[in-house]
Amino acid sequence: MDFDFILACGDSFTEGCQNIVGLGPEGTWPGLLAKKYNVPFANLASGGSSNTLISLQPVNTPHGKIENGSAVEWNGLENAKKPLIIFGFTVLDRWTYFDGDMGRITSHFSIDPEYMSKTDNHGNDWTDWQKDVPLQNLHRKHNFYNGKLLENYTWATVQAINLAMQYEQLIPGATVMWGFIHERHGVDSFGENIFTLIDKLSDPYEVTHGVMEWPSTHRCFNKAYDWKPLQRMFDKKKQYWLRPEINDHHPNLEGIQLIADTIDTAIQGVFDV
């Protein structure tokens, strides 16, 4: 083993829906991994986070405060010499914005107009501009990446991965791993695997698939599941769902264990334990 701390970032699939499951951070997949390797850990994940926000969680998350119902404690990180930082990325199309009330960057879980017309993650009413911005951005292609012109939400995830890898530069001894856990339910954002994308910029009725070359795949834990997003391990198996009665596909304890086991396989691949 070549790490002495686990710092986990992500959305609800990493946060573990702790208030519903009824277990603390120890019952989440980062907690299960920390127990197996007998190292301290911090789970900074927050429900509804965009990939950009996930990449900022190590610096953006208040220390030792209540975050969306979960206590975020970082005890021991200052003494860690070789932290393992794991980014559990999510669906591509979430919107990142500055929340003046919170005084920091946050994100909204959906750009679906049906949800944008209600309230944000913190119970604030959406104003007109909040509804407009993400929808404007969705349909703009701005950036070339490996010869492809990407729409903003895919490009944002590329940049989020690059930012995540940057922690290795900032923290001597740190190892960064990343991968996709959560994928859009109903309309797959990925095709057969994380390298095939449904082109949302095409005519809505014309679904095309493109090849996507993500950066830093040598640290991507999806390799341990044939490069598929980890949610697919249990997305069609209700016995792993948290609340099948309301079609809630978040993982229950058994599903969380599946995620932990798969990421553990990837960890062993990286560290050759």
């Binding site: 500055f98 960057i105 701005h142 940057q166 900032l170």
Partner: protein, 252 residues
């Protein structure tokens, strides 16, 4: 106590109409004979400044051992935005309504933020945001091994966001800096605020409106009118002298 310097800030840190080798971080590097990374960026908001170690990581970061990280805050009246073209956190450099426009370079329709900016002004939320931002800045100490963090306000404005000149702005700013420092100490943070060396005024105040200390400072018959408050090379030298005085007394 430190083997390198990482400076974060806006144009008052980067350099403005001069050479980067004459910026105050460069002068500090020469004085202490340590390598320097100047991550300052013109127009940056305080939130963007807090993220500069991550968003603007220098290529030689691994050579910057045990860094002294200096966060040079700017006016609170800048608005962080997510830039869709660059997919990074950037800033609206001004919240004045007449300055909000479609920015073809960033791809941001700035006008749409006007209602939220107005609400934040009414609620004094820009100053409240500075508290969260300072906590973020101090959090880098836990992430970057061997680092020491100092912070303080450099750039401030006499003009309120509605364009009206506030004659008491300096004194109000002094109270806010002391209040921020006190808040951090009361909440268990190690707060090293370099404004202490200049009586808790923003560092910009050490230039005292002397024409030679500014790039472009025009005296009018009706009083003194600032055309450009950025420091001249002599003004930058005065900034550096104040930093050295603080660092020698509190850090080194």
């Amino acid at each position: 106590m430190f083997d390198s310097i990482i400076a974060c800030g806006d144009s008052f840190t980067k350099y403005h109409l001069t050479e980067i080798s004459k910026s105050w971080p460069a002068l500090l590097g020469q004085h202490y004979n340590v390598p320097v990374a100047n991550l300052g960026k013109g127009g940056a908001s305080n939130y963007e400044i807090a993220l500069q170690p991550l968003q603007s990581t220098p290529n030689n970061i691994k050579e910057l051992k045990n860094p002294l990280i200096i966060f040079g805050l700017t006016t609170p009246f800048r608005y962080p935005v997510y830039l869709p073209k660059e997919t990074r956190i950037g800033s609206l450099a001004s919240v004045l309504p007449e300055h909000l426009t479609y920015n073809q370079y960033t791809g941001v329709e700035e006008k749409i933020f006007e209602p939220t900016i107005k609400k934040m002004l009414v609620d004094d939320a820009f100053h409240q945001a500075d508290i969260q931002i300072l906590e973020m800045m101090l959090r880098w100490k836990e992430l970057i091994e061997g680092s020491t963090i100092i912070w303080g306000r450099i750039h401030f404005q006499h003009q309120e966001p509605d364009g009206v000149v506030n004659r008491n702005a300096l004194e109000e700013e002094q109270e806010r800096i002391i209040s921020l420092h006190q808040y951090l100490q009361d909440n268990g943070f190690e707060s090293n605020c370099f404004n202490e060396v200049c009586e808790w005024f923003p560092l910009q105040h050490v230039l005292k409106g002397e024409p030679d200390m500014h790039i472009n400072w025009e005296k009018l018959n009706q009083g003194t009118k600032i055309l450009d408050g950025h420091p001249s090379d002599a003004g930058i030298k005065r900034f550096a002298d104040n930093f050295i005085q603080y660092i020698d007394s509190k850090i080194a």
